[in-house]
């Protein structure tokens, strides 16, 4: 069992989706996240253990390597795909058990903006760290963020913007959320966004990379 967990975390770390996947070359013909997750569940592991002892360990390593600039977008994306392959099995189990995930993260690219690659990486990394993620997609309006936040009390809302023009919408949406309910925590990110801007618009968290928001959430939900 322990060996399978560590294999699974390797698959996440190095982005091995399934046996047939050619990526990464050094893991050619080995079982991937898909097969190993199935083997673990068949052997009686709980969904929660698969998440804690496999996925989260691997995802954290990727997050740290990405922050340290040892890996880049393609590797993170492949890790995310590997995680998706595992999540296919875990999600229904979490739904049954009422979810053992640590908390909920609502994320979307703000109104007027369609850039979503960065947002997707954040969303997958947060999910891989044991949170439930509700991804609202791109071009998302304030009303939608507010509605979904209301439906998920305690959830943290993440806003992504990649255009200097849509940073204005990031500000408007943050303010609308805060005006609606000051207790909803808002995180902002995207290439043109800075800590300064985040402070100025009254957001609770800014991070240049996914690992930062994960650590922020770990702090919030540990309390």
């Amino acid at each position: 069992m322990e060996e399978l967990y560590s294999k699974l975390s390797d698959c996440i770390e190095f982005g091995k989706i399934n046996k047939a996947a050619p990526f990464p070359p050094q893991m050619k013909d080995q079982d991937g996240a898909d097969e190993i997750t199935k083997q673990l569940l068949d052997a009686g592991a709980s969904a929660d253990d698969v998440l804690q002892k496999g996925l989260i360990i691997g995802m954290e390593k990727v997050g740290v390597k990405f922050r340290n600039n040892e890996v880049f977008v393609p590797q993170v994306l492949m890790s995310a795909k590997a995680m998706d392959a595992a999540m296919v099995y875990l999600k229904p189990l979490f739904a049954e058990s009422g979810g053992s995930q640590k908390g909920t993260f609502i994320i979307g690219t703000v109104e007027g903006d369609l850039h979503d690659i960065g947002k997707n990486l954040v969303s997958m990394m947060v999910e891989g760290n044991g949170y439930k993620v509700i991804d609202l997609g791109t071009d998302v309006k304030a009303e939608t963020f507010i509605k979904v936040a209301d439906e998920n009390p305690g959830a943290i809302v993440g806003l992504s913007a990649l255009l200097t023009t849509t940073m204005g919408n990031q500000e408007a949406i943050t303010k609308a959320i805060k005006a609606h309910n000051t207790n909803i925590k808002v995180a902002v990110g995207g290439a043109p966004v800075t800590q300064d801007f985040s402070d100025r618009i009254g957001a609770d968290c800014y991070s240049a990379d996914p690992q930062g928001i994960v650590e922020y959430m770990n702090g919030v939900f540990a309390k």
Binding site: N69, E70, V71, F72, V73, P74, Q75, L77, M78, E111, G112, D113, L114, H115, D116, I117, N120, T138, D139, L163, T164, T165, T166, G168
Partner: protein, 498 residues
């Protein structure tokens, strides 16, 4: 055959030459380097060289026949033969009606780029280009890219300000020309402008805000003629300002004009047209259809977001290999420009200093502070490599998706036309090595220089060019990459240097 003796920084060499060629062609043939941004079009006057016992000549317009001795300047050189003229459409002289009413009718073609404006003064009686001048786009101080300038319009009076500086810049050139060449305003009967969609909006004082927000709707894309008087542009009272048509918010008149200006050789059926700039516009042109998109590569190759990045000015490292660097003007290095950046990355990938997945473990020193021109180390940082990956992959992913959309493969692509100044300077082998351009098209890359300007000139020369422009627009379809399901995966995977 007559002989040419060439003095350059590389030494002195003598060759026989063919007197049917221009001096520029001769120099380029024997490997000499001359800065020729317009590609030997006779338009930019940049390829001046010294001919001993004769004086300074514009080498692309000079056809020597006897033994000569030539001294090359120590400036930034283009090492690629850019025979733009060979690829430019030729139309019979057929200028607008007003031209018949004045004594010596003149036209002004303007390519307004995000960074610079190029003016082409055209004699509408002979069809010759009298002069080419260029100034930096004065809107630059309101933001380096169009999105920032659109942002400036949110400020009170911002739009008016952006419009005014453009019109002032045009009028200033008109005054200069009158002073220097004695051309009077009333003789200038037509102005043709080629620019991206945002700049065309700003020029007319139309709010461009919707261009910067999804669904990116332009207020207009069609061909427009506005009375010069109405815009306050100081030419013949009855003259018109002609704005060339655009395709969409991010595939503008500059691209339509560029594609329309090219006359591919007969055997070229399907081709790619790419402008490697901040917006990274490109098109796959087939006999009946044109597929185009903007890949938003970002300004890495213009020096932005790169630690020691800079434009191709004196002191910029513009070439690099295992043997070291070369700078613009042979000055001590003070930074790195786009072509140098490509060379550096290609070299470091080849020798393993940068890994296939883009890891550079520490800053790479190109010139230490004792050898640089500014007392600082000139370096390439690990983050710079990432910026290049983001930019080059955007271009490559766009290429792949467009070719796929057109139902073609690399085998079907007969040529790759590289438009814009940068295309003239980059080393194509290195561009392919880093995965900016596809290796598969190695033998088919043709730098064509400023095609947007070439189109503006054609429009002045002949009313018939309107039909060509119209057909380009009609055949075009805009591919929205953000809605393309494969873009994310393509974009991620094309970041590798394999």
């Amino acid at each position: 055959m007559p002989k040419i003796t060439l003095h350059s920084t590389a030494g002195i060499e003598t060759h026989e030459y063919n007197s049917a060629n221009s001096l520029l062609q001769t120099i380029q043939k024997i490997g000499g380097e001359v800065f020729a941004p317009c590609g030997g079009n006779g338009t930019c006057g940049k390829c001046r060289v010294k001919v001993k016992h004769y004086g300074t000549v514009t080498s692309c317009l000079y056809y020597p026949t006897t033994d000569i001795e030539v001294i090359l300047p120590d400036t930034k050189e283009s090492k690629i033969l850019t025979d733009q003229y060979k690829h430019t459409l030729k139309l019979p002289l057929n200028p607008c009606c007003l031209a018949a009413n004045v004594h010596s009718p003149m036209g002004l073609g303007i390519d307004i780029g995000t960074t610079s404006m190029v003016f082409y003064w055209v004699d509408l009686k002979t069809g010759g280009i009298v002069n080419t001048t260029s100034v930096t786009n004065p809107q630059g101080r309101f933001g380096a890219d169009v999105i920032s300038r659109i942002g400036h319009c949110a400020n009170e009076g911002g739009l008016e300000e952006l419009q005014k500086v453009l019109i002032d810049a045009i009028n200033k050139e008109l005054i200069k020309l009158e002073e220097n060449e004695g051309i009077i305003n009333s003789d200038i009967v037509k102005v043709t402008i080629s620019a991206n969609t945002t700049i065309l909006h700003l020029l007319l004082g139309i709010d461009p805000t919707p261009l910067a927000l999804y669904p990116f709707t332009p207020a207009f894309t069609d061909y427009k003629i506005v009375a010069a008087k109405k815009l306050g542009i100081d030419i013949n009272e009855q003259g018109g300002i002609h704005l060339l048509p655009s395709i969409s918010a991010y595939v503008g008149a500059d691209i339509v004009s560029g594609i329309s200006s090219i006359a591919p050789r007969n055997e070229i059926k399907n081709y790619l047209f790419i402008d490697i700039g901040t917006n990274g516009e490109m098109a796959v042109v087939t006999p009946n259809e044109i597929f185009c998109c903007a890949t938003a590569a970002g300004p890495a190759f213009e020096g932005a977001n790169i630690k020691c990045g800079m434009g191709a000015f004196d002191g910029a490292i513009s070439e690099y290999s295992d043997n070291g660097y070369k700078t613009v003007g042979n000055d001590k290095p003070i930074g790195i420009c786009g072509s140098g950046l490509i060379d550096i990355i290609a070299t470091l990938v080849n020798n393993g200093t940068i890994s296939m997945d883009g890891v550079l473990t520490e800053d790479f020193v190109l010139a230490d502070k004792n050898h640089s021109g500014n007392g600082e180390n000139i370096i390439l940082t690990p983050r710079d490599v990432r910026e290049v990956q983001l930019a080059k992959s955007a271009i490559m992913s766009g290429i792949k998706i467009l070719i796929d959309k057109a139902g073609l493969t690399y085998n079907d692509i007969d040529a790759l036309y590289l438009a814009g100044g940068f295309g003239n300077y980059l080393n194509p082998d290195n561009a392919m090595r880093i995965g900016l351009l596809p290796m598969e098209l190695a033998d088919r890359i043709i730098p064509v220089g400023n095609t947007s300007g070439a189109g503006a000139v054609l429009h002045l020369l002949s009313e018939d060019f309107n039909d060509v422009l119209k057909s380009t627009v009609e055949k075009s379809q805009n591919i929205e990459l953000s809605e393309h399901p494969d873009f994310e995966m393509e974009y991620a995977m094309n970041m590798y240097f394999s």
